[in-house]
Amino acid sequence: MRKKSILYVLIILFFVGAAIVFYAYREFFRKAEDVSTVQSAYQRSAIELIQEFKSNEQASNTLYLGKVLSVSGMVKSVESSDGTFTISLGDTTDLSSVRCTLDSLHGAEAGGLRIGSSIAVKGYCSGFNADEMLGSDVILNRCALEMINEKK
């Protein structure tokens, strides 16, 4: 009887140990979550978002930094360098934009995007780069396209 309960305890310990090792292993090699499968915390238009950061950078940082945002706006430009695509959203008369760097998984989505079409992009907000000469930008990282409203 005693032997049997020791055996049970050992079996349980073994499974607990295996679970911990499995969890640690998975946690250690975990990749950043694909943004297209994450619910966005906030939805903003590009112009709204830029305005919020311009009027109070610190408060906006507290609110948005590291969060998944869904940002809608007009495509100002699509750039690529070394296979990384960046879509700028915002008002074409203003130097400032929301710059969305596409996740390498979603890079192909930039193909066929037209300047002037209105789209929504989802991505992790990494902050605000204020620059009077170049225009102040809100930066979104690891982005994916959410929707495209092509003008007919």
Binding site: T84, C125, N129
Partner: protein, 183 residues
């Protein structure tokens, strides 16, 4: 006649040269702080950089949360424990190219460059110096530099538990391809 000509020449000379500024918003900064045990490195592809070929001023700005690591856990630790990115979202370098006169921006080619200035990181500002190259090609300017910073200089603490895993110094590589700023 020669008087008129010399006055004209004098006028020409006194005209201010147009500012030659180059910029990018998609520059790259890579860092490596690998210890003996594992590779710790990250890349940031949203670096903003501006340089003025006339005044030799050069600056870089980078958002800490834009550094991408291979492992998500490492990225979280970097942002939460080391860089404290919520408290100090941005790092900045402002300096000048000290051998700017040796660089002929009108002629394509690769020139060795030395940069000196102030780096603000994790809320601490320090003097740094870096050597690199400036390459002029196809109307664009590429600035490449490599330097090493000591993390404790910037009050980045490494817990003793992981002190063998994380290097006390970080190697930083900057690569910015800049285009002419039309103003």
């Amino acid at each position: 006649m020669s008087k008129v000509l010399s006055v004209f020449l004098l006028m020409l000379l006194s005209l201010p040269l147009p500012a030659q500024r180059y910029f990018t918003k998609a520059g790259t900064i890579y860092f490596n702080a690998s210890g003996d045990m594992e590779v710790i490195d990250a890349t940031n592809k949203t670096v903003t950089s501006v340089m003025d070929t006339k005044t030799a001023a050069i600056q870089f700005a980078v958002l800490m949360k834009s550094f991408q690591f291979e492992k998500a856990l490492m990225e979280e630790h970097f942002n939460e424990n080391y860089a404290e990115s919520s408290k100090f979202p941005k790092a900045e370098f402002k300096g000048e190219i000290i051998n700017n006169k040796d660089i002929n921006y009108g002629k394509e080619g690769s020139y060795p460059a030395k940069v000196k200035g102030k780096l603000t990181l994790h809320g601490v500002t320090r003097d740094v110096e870096a050597s690199g190259t400036i390459t002029i090609q196809g109307g664009k300017v590429q600035a490449l530099a490599e330097f090493v910073i000591t993390l404790s200089d910037f009050n980045v603490e490494i817990p003793s538990l992981v002190k063998d895993k994380v290097s006390k110094q970080a190697k930083i590589k900057v690569d910015c391809l800049m285009e002419l700023l039309k103003s």
